[in-house]
Amino acid sequence: MARSQDRRPGYSRRAQYGIFTGYVVAILGVVAGIAVLVTSLINPDAFSFARSAAAEAARPLGRAGAESRSTGQGVFAAVGAYFNAGQQNAELRREVEAARANAVSMQSLQNENRRLKALLGIIDPARKPVATAHLIGSTAASTRRFAVIDAGTSRGVQSGQPVRAASGLIGRVIEAGPGTARVLLVTDPDNVVPVKRARDGLTAFVQGASNGRIDIRLINQGVNPIRKGDVFVTSGSGGLYPPGIPVAVATDPHRDGATGHLAADPADNEFVIVESAYSGEARMQIEQIEKDGAKNAAPEQ
């Protein structure tokens, strides 16, 4: 293709100046961008106001998307259900029989549990959620893993609060606008979650690998006791995440830990619950530990 007309100024001074100004502004753009980039690398919260304003503007779009996602899944599920209705009916009948038997033994276990708890004096306060919200967006094209929820400071959401779905931990709020909040997902490499093995309390921490998987790293090095299928739950140390929320299932043990998959994939969970931070003053501490942990972990990669 021939050179376009406005790149051939000829003798026109005005056209020559126009092209020159274009170059100057473009190079200034690079310089200004570097300045902004350095600012945001040093202080990641520097431009959070602009981001939350932008998220507010895109909120209706995200809500519409979230609704279409759930209806889409509903339609597929309904169509699929027709195809194996007969088989499902028989299966459900069997399951109901089994569940009835289970329910009786469950009842006795529950009674026993109640008695034992009373004996130990464990208080189990019902933690009231701050808000329930839709997941309305995520940074699907970026190496960083953020999601956006449609609840913000107007509903009591603040930065630092843990976000969970019914089946497990999703992440934590890092920026809150009036009607939206940005959530750092568990799969982001910046998010380090202290966990313990559900079975015996073996302590470890979980760090995102940004590819949908997570790294489970042991705190005590030595012989690796992790087996495939081990479930890890939040330990509550550091005070950011309340204890006992499922985080990960180990799938591939290696020398000093394991690779695992998430207990709650954000893609499968339309609704999430924002809970209040487990303990406010301990949050500073964990953030310091996280920074050190990330620094120590980096050279291994």
Binding site: R7, Y23, G33, S138, R144, D190, D265, A294
Partner: protein, 184 residues
């Protein structure tokens, strides 16, 4: 009957073409609007736990720039990159730098390789998209202190394969852009 019908439609088209011009708002604004809309694609129904979506907005910018050189001004990377930063989740400013750099790089490519076919365009886009994703992941790695260069490989491959599709979409949008809607 059929013939007359055909004649009439031809007549209508002719009447629609003559004395009409594209709407200036559409002709100038559509590239900007579509690129910005592609930036907002992160508010799509897909909630992903890995980088899987191609950088649609950036690919759109490249496709418009290659289809109509000189239509987007040289400094377009500054405002469009800024807008992309608001939604992309990358460290703020990385879009401004990389998009402005892209516009300058495209200027260089135009200078060196003026006569290009589609294959060369695609090749140039491959180089630019790969560089964009790699630099983006490096900047994100600096921000987290935990570099992960391998996670962008599938995304890069998908993006390179999808670029021709994006150019077709942009070509379609270009026809919409030049619809003769304004009466002179």
């Amino acid at each position: 009957m059929n013939l007359r019908n055909l004649d009439e439609t031809g007549d209508v088209i002719a009447r629609k073409r003559i004395n009409r011009a594209p709407l200036p708002l559409l002709a100038i604004g559509l590239p900007w609007a579509t690129i910005m809309l592609a930036s907002m694609a992160s508010f799509s129904p897909i909630i992903s736990s890995a980088p899987v979506m191609p950088p649609l907005a950036y690919m759109m910018l490249l496709a418009w720039r290659m289809m109509r050189p000189g239509m987007l001004p040289l400094w377009a990377g500054l405002p469009l990159g800024l807008f992309d930063d608001l939604y992309s989740g990358m460290p703020f400013g990385s879009g401004i730098v990389l998009w402005s750099g892209t516009m300058l790089a495209m200027e260089l490519i135009d200078e060196k390789f003026l006569w290009r076919g589609f294959a060369q365009d695609w090749l140039a886009a491959c180089a630019l998209i790969s560089a964009y994703l790699l630099l983006g992941s490096v900047l994100a790695g600096i921000a987290t202190g935990y570099p992960l260069p391998l996670v962008i490989v599938p995304q890069t491959l998908v993006s390179l394969a999808l670029y021709p599709v994006v150019t077709r979409v942009v070509a379609l949008l270009d026809r919409v852009r030049l619809l003769p809607l304004k009466r002179l």
